[in-house]
């Protein structure tokens, strides 16, 4: 049987893979189920109110925000990805990784910073008044950063790296021969971009955009502060002001419909097209050298999002942190919070990557529909807003906690307390549920680059699935694993809603610390902690930016090259 891998696939050694997928799917499925149960208990009056007065406006704001952010991130992400892939210019080596940096700063912090800089009393408008001799804000018109357009620009600046990463990964491997044909036929750079590169990049754009839109949909801090009343904001209002968790859960379910629509659109956009580029010998594009002003222009264009998405906000934080350090107001507690952040994020990342490898490998080795469905469910957590997921996890986890506690008390006579929510483990589980999708997607896209014929050959030679994985797949998967791990790690460090809700007594991470200050209206007090988050996030982003394995692009399976999440390293 071993010689026939297509039959032997149900054979021995696959149990752990299925179990991993089961665990992953349960982690996402259980909170979703809990959410459904909560939503079911809603009063009709709440639902009527939401339907009449909340949803129309919340849907409109949400859709406008999504559209705007999609537009901004597309221009910034795809444009810069194209420039750094298709051209060689002075400074490219620096700017190409730097374009990922905005990933390291939490969105709501950037929103606070931009309001501080651009509001009527900020430096920009103060200078403007001084230049033109205005005395009051009433005397002139100026952009209002606390608005829907403001929110679109701010979120666009922070979220474009998702698109940049996926578009760049695709440009790098797929377009070479077609582009060269185009060039030979005399197409100019803009024509090439519009008629060859852009259509080619469509699947990658769809993928990156999905991540951007899910992040946008998830956001609560920035939207609320900037006065944009999205679905997420109305979930909060319904829950907290009207005391209706059930009503909130119902809006959350409506929001999940939006998510499903986004995911469906993404699948269609991705699935409809297949490309004729040779799957066996893809070559990286030979970049055109840009000299003189052209090179400077290319560099300048790429520096715009880096500056506004990272340098300016990080610089602001650094300046605020500096004044507080000089005033002697830094406390040693922050060292502990840094350690806690790294420990929680590190633990979660380890587990997520382990589980992600097992699930992606299971999907690969089993090639069955059930397994694929489990893997998809396990990866869905990323699409569920953090707060919703946290609330959904709270009840089952506390329930399990109580069962364990009561059981131990009956047996041993002493209660051990709540083991999951009483330790940091509940948070780790929440991270797992939320970010497993990133790992599965990244690793699946890595798998897609390994020809299935290798598996067949190995299996035909009598290797067990576990051996195929450890001896063949894992070494080849290394770059994808590393990049997925880094992205997961950064996201865990920034995670707020689940950490806030599920942490045990006395446990503080950098993110919760920053939030505590921000919620008093004193976000500058948290500047140092925020800066530490940025620095912790920066390390992996810089590591991920190393041009690892870029020279050896293994054969690629076009259809699966773009898994559900982004392939970070190309």
């Amino acid at each position: 049987m071993r010689q026939r891998p297509d039959r032997g696939r149900r054979g021995a050694g696959l149990g752990p893979f299925v179990a991993a997928a089961g665990v992953g799917a349960a982690l996402v499925g259980v909170p979703l189920l809990a959410l459904g149960v909560i939503a079911f208990g809603g009063e009709p009056a709440v639902l009527r109110h939401v339907w009449h007065y909340v949803l129309p406006q919340a849907l409109r704001d949400t859709l406008l925000l999504l559209l705007g952010v999609a537009l901004v991130t597309s221009v910034l992400g795809v444009g810069t990805a194209w420039i750094v892939t298709a051209y060689r210019f002075r400074g490219r080596g620096l700017v190409a990784p730097a374009l990922m940096l905005p990933l390291a700063i939490p969105t709501y912090i950037v929103a606070y910073i931009y309001v501080e800089i651009l509001d009527p009393l900020g430096p920009v408008q103060t200078l403007w008044r001084a230049l033109w001799g205005f005395r009051s804000r009433a005397d002139y018109s100026f952009i209002d950063i606390r608005s829907l357009p403001g929110a679109i620009v701010i979120m666009g600046l922070v979220l474009y790296p998702y698109l940049y990463l996926s578009a760049r990964a695709l440009f790098a491997v797929q377009s070479a021969s077609l582009l060269e044909v185009g060039r030979t036929l005399g197409a100019g750079p803009l024509t090439l971009f519009r008629h060859v590169a852009l259509p080619l990049a469509r699947p990658a754009v769809a993928l990156g955009l999905t991540l951007v839109l899910l992040e946008t949909l998830n956001d609560i801090g920035a939207s609320e502060y900037l006065g944009v009343r999205t679905l997420s904001v109305s979930i909060y209002t319904t829950w907290l002001n009207r005391g209706s968790l059930a009503g909130a859960a119902q809006i959350a379910c409506a929001m999940l419909l939006v998510v499903l629509v986004i995911l469906l659109i993404e699948r269609r956009a991705r699935g409809q097209r297949r490309f004729a580029a040779s799957p066996k010998h893809p070559r990286p594009i030979a970049p055109l050298a840009l000299e003189g002003w052209r090179g400077a222009l290319a560099l300048g264009l790429c520096l715009i999002p880096v500056f506004f998405g990272f340098v300016l906000p990080a610089g602001f934080l650094a300046q605020q942190a500096m004044t507080r350090l000089l005033a002697g107001r830094a406390d040693l507690e922050m060292v502990g919070q840094l350690a806690t952040t790294i420990a929680l994020a590190g633990t979660a990342t380890g587990l997520i990557i382990g589980l992600g490898v097992m699930i992606a490998a299971g999907a690969r080795l089993l090639r069955g529909k059930a397994m694929a469905a489990l893997a998809r469910l396990a990866g869905l957590g990323y699409a569920i807003p953090g707060t919703v997921l946290a609330i959904g996890l709270l009840w089952p986890m506390a329930g399990l906690d109580n069962i364990i506690a009561d059981l131990v008390r009956q047996i041993a006579g002493v209660s051990p307390g709540l083991l999951l929510t009483g330790s940091g483990f509940a948070i780790v589980l929440a991270y797992l549920a939320r970010f497993l999708g990133i790992a599965i997607g990244g690793i699946e896209s890595g798998f897609a680059r390994i020809s299935p014929r290798m598996d067949d050959a190995a299996r035909a030679l009598g290797r067990r699935p576990r051996e195929v994985l450890s001896r063949i797949h894992l070494p080849l998967l290394r770059p994808s694993i590393v990049s997925a791990a880094l992205l997961v790690f950064v996201d865990c460090c920034k995670e707020l809603p689940a950490t806030l809700l599920l942490r045990p007594l006395n446990l503080e991470t950098l993110a919760t610390r920053v939030y505590a200050d921000a919620s008093r209206g004193l976000f500058e007090e948290g500047a140092l902690a925020a800066l530490l988050i940025v620095l912790v996030g920066l390390v992996p982003v810089v590591i991920a930016a190393r041009p690892q394995a870029r020279d050896h692009v293994p054969p690629i399976d076009q259809d699966r090259a773009l898994g559900p999440a982004l392939p970070l390293a190309s």
């Binding site: 009343r229 005391g243 590190g346 633990t347 919760t512 919620s519």
Partner: protein, 340 residues
């Protein structure tokens, strides 16, 4: 990478297990939605005074749900919540128990605690009208005035769905009924200089910048701005004044931060002691001064807050009544569409 994280995992798991199983002579666990920086000094003073260790966690949204979900084995002893509506909600959810202490009853006026003894206010915060020092002559105003057309295009507020505003609107409903409050909100909306956004500090800044002349905010934000060591922030704080704001025939709208004993508190005696301590002269001053709030303890001598903003003439409306109006107020905000 994986091995490394496993090692970290084992280490924290061990550390956490160790820290949670160490039996302290006495300890008390606090779940708080009041920001840690504002309660920590009190907890430290309590530990210094009694030797009881205070374990705290800041949980903002969902604190009540968490205690409820944790059920019988919840470690929570004391629940500290900001906003009376949340305190009332905690009681309604059945996650609190009555304290039994004459000490508390003696210290706190009746209107500032639950009639059944499930919660008590520990600090008062007033919600008032800020005004531009240079452009607004008057020093007093009624909340009802905010709907007067003479303020057309001159008012700034943060989102009307923010709990601070919902509470004020709830009090308005308690005073004048829902219909009149709807008219008032409509008038207020017509007077807004800009769509509601930002926070109370942004309202103050917009007034200083000239976007609007008056706005709604909690008193303490002005105190905090003026006390900031950043000169620019001080200037913003100095650019606005706090008007003597009252309901017609009533007083200044106040909300509270308060405390309750959790239903399944494992250290009930300590919980009771901590709450009593929070109402002591020392703790009252600490908490009020930390954030320019007012003590709830009757007859406590002047604090930093009173020095800056004068004594408070709190609206006599019972807090529990304001809490009852939270949901109608929140729904009214949507119906009038004031945030749109």
């Amino acid at each position: 990478m994986r091995k490394f994280s496993w090692r970290i995992a084992a280490t924290i798991a061990g550390a956490l297990a160790a820290s949670s199983s160490v039996a302290w002579a006495a300890e008390v666990n606090v779940y708080t939605s009041r920001e840690p920086a504002l309660v920590k000094p009190v907890f430290e003073a309590f530990t210094a005074a009694t030797g009881t260790r205070v374990n705290a966690v800041f949980v903002q949204n969902g604190l009540e749900e968490r205690v409820k979900a944790e059920g019988a084995n919840s470690p929570a002893d004391v629940i500290v919540l900001v906003d009376v509506a949340r305190l009332a909600n905690a009681k309604a959810m059945g996650i609190t128990q009555p304290f039994d202490s004459r000490e508390i009853e003696a210290a706190v006026p009746t209107g500032l605690r639950d009639p059944d003894g499930h919660w008590t206010a520990v600090t008062l915060r007033s919600r008032v009208v800020y005004a531009a020092k240079d452009r607004v002559k008057q020093d007093a105003i009624t909340y009802e005035d905010l709907a007067d057309p003479r303020w057309k295009g001159r008012i700034c507020i943060r989102s009307a769905q923010h709990p601070y505003n919902v509470s004020l609107i709830g009090a308005m409903i308690a005073h004048h009924g829902e219909e009149q409050t709807a008219d008032w909100l409509t008038g207020l909306k017509a007077n807004l200089a800009r769509k509601p956004s930002g926070g109370d500090r942004d309202v103050a800044k917009d007034i200083v910048a000239g976007v609007c002349d008056i706005g709604l905010g909690n008193t303490y934000y002005v105190g905090l701005l003026r006390a900031d060591q950043n000169a620019a922030q001080q200037a913003w704080g100095q650019g606005v004044k706090v008007l003597d704001s009252r309901f017609q025939g009533g007083g200044t709208h106040v909300n509270v931060s308060g405390a309750a004993i959790a239903k399944n508190a494992p250290n009930k005696a300590q919980a009771q002691k901590l709450i009593a301590f929070m109402l002591s002269d020392e703790a009252q001053r600490l908490m009020a001064d930390a954030n320019f709030e007012y003590p709830v303890r009757a007859g406590l001598p002047s604090t930093r807050t009173q020095a800056a903003f004068g004594p408070i003439a709190a609206d006599p409306l019972a807090l529990a009544e304001i809490a009852r109006q939270r949901r109608p107020a929140s729904e009214l905000v949507d119906r009038v569409g004031i945030d749109n």
